[in-house]
């Protein structure tokens, strides 16, 4: 009944999350190793599958609410699952954006050796993984730590932007490529933001307290836990 | 509401209660008087011989009422054999069919029968059986008593079965059990307490009926087990002996009354026990 349906939808959400993780890895791998096939996979196979999952999960969430009128923790769970589902889908879109820009870049010479972007990608991937772990293990500490790391990723994006601006100023032929690299870093930053959203939702689900929109400092339990 | 008025009202309450108790007490008095007199006058006649010997002719000492006891028993058996199945069946029919022509007529018949004086029933039995058979008999007496038992049993059965919720019948039918088995094995057992009570009450009633027996069973100074011959019965014996001129017979009549009352009391007692033990709660 209710318990089974909740388990089922959580499972599906995890499937969706693993898919997103792989999409991220593949798009990075395609970029660094100049592998066109793997990038096309992300765009043509993985993203449609992610969209399918998103629809399934959304339908299940609505059905659960209609049929079982979940209360308290179960209600928070199903509502947050629905929100996380949306965030995952957006991450999927960002992964596609990354792949599309990568497809452009791998056919052309490098502007500069790729160091910061893979670093940023790795950081972002860890944030995504941890936010999903905090959901599965119901670990508010872990969720909180993800929220704190968002600044690191933001910093990396600014750094990359600054660097590339310099390149574009000195050599106009690098503008198009630099633009795509900036796009990629922005997509990664958005994925990190969405991971933060997921973590905030996890804390609400577990504790019933919201820490969204800077209510961070007000959440005593999130600090103490 | 001041204290005076309240006191007055409480007083009224108490007075009313006292009146109710007093009147209830008075209504028990006749019963106790009857029991007292019968016991006082009849107990002295009781003995083992009294219950097992036949009556002796006038003038001889001793004698008993054995033939009357056996005769009464015989009459009850003859009466019960048709009355109980017919009564129960009629009761079942009435409880199952609340409307309809036959129901209406049956109900009417039962009510009329219940109100018919016992002596009239006796006369009917006389016309049917005594005349056609050419003589008095236990059979005709039994039939008359059976007719009297019929409405009591029918009524009791109907009322008992009415109290059984339909859901019980439905539960049985839903298991694929045919209707007649449902009645026999589910409904009637559930109503056992009420039906048995009805039967015992009807028995207690006819045990003491005299009028119909006057011209059907007629009475017999000897022991008789032949149902087409006349037979003696306790009420008959009491009637005949009590109105006779012989004092010995009077004391026998007292003794027989004692026995009869005891039988009736025992029957009532047994009825209560059965009703209690076998009662089914819904």
């Amino acid at each position: 009944m209710l318990e089974e349906s909740l388990e089922e939808v959580k499972e599906k959400l995890l499937q969706s999350a693993s898919l997103i993780e792989r999409m991220m890895e593949k798009s990075m791998m395609g970029l660094t190793q100049r592998d066109e096939e793997v990038l096309l996979e992300v765009i043509e196979r993985d993203e449609p599958r992610e969209n399918e999952l998103e629809l399934e999960i959304e339908e299940t969430c609505i059905h659960v609410i209609a049929r079982y009128q979940p209360q308290a923790r179960d209600l928070r769970t199903i509502m947050m699952v629905s929100k996380m589902n949306n965030d995952l889908e957006r991450m999927g879109d960002e992964a596609v954006n990354i792949s599309e820009s990568a497809l452009f870049l791998i056919k052309r010479p490098e502007v500069k050796p790729l160091i910061d972007i893979p670093k940023m990608a790795e950081e972002t991937r860890k944030m995504l993984k941890d936010s999903l772990s905090s959901f599965m293990d119901e670990d508010p500490q872990l969720a909180k730590s993800v929220c704190e790391r968002d600044d690191i990723v933001d910093g990396l994006r600014d750094q990359i932007l600054g660097e590339l601006v310099t390149f574009m100023a000195s050599d106009p032929t690098t503008i198009e490529r630099s633009n795509h690299l900036i796009r990629i870093s922005r997509s990664l930053e958005r994925i990190a933001d969405l991971s933060t959203n997921i973590s905030e939702d996890v804390i609400y689900m577990i504790e019933g307290k919201t820490i969204r929109h800077g209510k961070f400092e007000n959440s005593k339990t999130a600090f103490e836990a | 509401m001041d204290r005076e008025r309240v006191k007055f009202r409480i007083g009224k309450d108490k007075a009313f209660m006292a009146l109710v108790i007093l009147l209830s007490f008075f209504s028990m008095v006749p019963l106790f008087l009857i029991l007292f007199y019968i016991m006082r006058n009849g107990l002295s006649s009781l003995s083992w011989e009294f219950l097992t010997e036949l009556s002796k002719p006038v003038g001889e000492v001793g004698g008993g009422i054995a033939n009357a006891i056996v005769g009464s028993f015989l009459l009850v058996v003859i009466a019960s054999l048709p009355a109980i199945p017919m009564g129960i069946t009629a009761g079942v029919y009435l409880s199952e069919h609340k409307r309809g022509r036959l129901s209406y007529l049956l109900r009417l018949a039962v009510e009329v029968l219940q109100g018919t004086p016992s002596i009239v029933i006796g006369i009917i039995a006389y016309l049917w059986l005594v005349i056609s058979m050419g003589g008095f008999s236990a059979l005709s007496g039994g039939v008359a008593l059976g007719i009297m038992m019929l409405p009591v049993i029918t009524r009791a059965t109907e009322e008992t079965l009415k109290l059984i919720p339909d859901s019980l019948k439905e539960a049985s039918l839903a298991l694929g059990v045919p209707y007649y088995r449902t009645i026999l094995k589910v409904i009637l057992p559930a109503g056992f307490s009420g039906i048995a009570t009805g039967i015992l009450i009807s028995l207690a009633r006819i045990a003491g009926e005299t009028a119909p027996l006057l011209f059907t069973a007629f009475g017999n100074p000897f022991m008789n087990l032949n149902i087409i011959k006349p037979v003696n019965a306790l009420p008959l014996l009491i009637y005949n002996y009590a109105t006779s001129p012989y004092p010995e017979w009077h004391s026998i009549a007292w003794g027989a009354s004692c026995v009869l009352i005891c039988i009736v009391l025992i029957l009532n007692f047994v009825t209560r026990i059965i009703a209690q033990r076998w009662k089914v709660q819904f």
């Binding site: 059905h63 | 839903a174 298991l175 059990v177 094995k185 589910v186 559930a190 056992f192």
Partner: protein
């Protein structure tokens, strides 16, 4: 893909001239819980009583159309056989008061005069009470009459009694409306287990219960089958306006 265990074709049922069930055609999927839902008086009880041929026991009643149990026309079969293959549990628990718990469970056999060996009846009693989640509570009291059981336990006894006949379909007519919330929850959990072995058709006017328990839902209104679909679908986005109004509590 579910297979159909019971289906109707143009089924109508009458009380005298009053048509309580109007031309209903539906298919009940096997080993699932199907709920017939609707406001009071919409004909749902009458409808399921056509499935076990109990409706025809009412004087002046009539049934038109067809009902098929595994493609056999039940109105061409012996009604007693139909009632053994399509069991029923009623709103008020109704165990036989003069029988022991043991005898109650096998009552369907005993009352029908069907012979059972001691070993067989022991087995049937244990299995049926087990399936009805009552075995542990009564296993030491099988020879007592069932009157000391609570309402919920009595209802489970009635379920065991119906299951003992190994029916294809079990009809449940508002089985929890006479029970307290705890007993209701027990029976609801029981239903989700039972559907693995027997098809269940539930009648209820309790929308929440219909949502919790059933896989498929049929909405009946004024004797007509308005809508039939998977429960999740029907509760979330019903196709017919009347279904929508009912679910939203506009009439009930």
């Amino acid at each position: 893909m579910e297979s159909t265990v019971l289906r109707t074709a143009g089924l109508s049922a009458y009380f005298g001239d009053n048509r309580a069930v109007k031309d209903v055609t539906l298919s009940i999927p096997e080993k699932m819980v199907t709920t017939i839902m609707g406001p009071s008086g919409c004909g749902k009880t009458t409808l399921i009583r056509c499935f076990n041929r109990m409706h025809e026991l009412i004087p002046d009643s009539k049934v038109e159309g067809k009902v098929f149990l595994r493609e056999e026309d039940i109105y061409a079969m012996n009604p007693m056989i139909v009632r053994r293959r399509v069991g029923m549990v009623f709103q008020r628990p109704n165990p036989f008061p003069t029988m022991t718990i043991y005898d109650n469970v096998i009552a369907g056999y005993k009352l029908n005069g069907l012979e059972l060996s001691r070993a067989e009846s022991d087995r049937i009693v244990k299995e049926s009470l087990g399936k009805a989640a009552l075995w542990n509570e009564v296993k030491d009291h099988l020879r007592r009459k069932g009157t000391f059981l609570s309402g919920g336990q009595q209802q489970r006894l009635c379920i065991a009694r119906a299951l003992a006949m190994d029916p294809d379909v079990l009809l449940l007519d508002e089985p929890t409306s006479a029970l307290d919330p705890k007993a209701t929850a027990h029976i609801e959990t029981l239903m989700t287990e039972l559907k693995k072995t027997v098809t269940l058709i539930l009648v209820t006017h309790n929308i929440a219960q219909a949502g919790r328990v059933s896989d498929f839902t049929a909405f009946l209104y004024l004797g007509e089958l308005v809508e039939f679909g998977s429960t999740g679908q029907l509760h979330t986005a019903p196709r017919d306006k009347r279904t929508e109004e009912f679910l939203r509590g506009k009439f009930g």
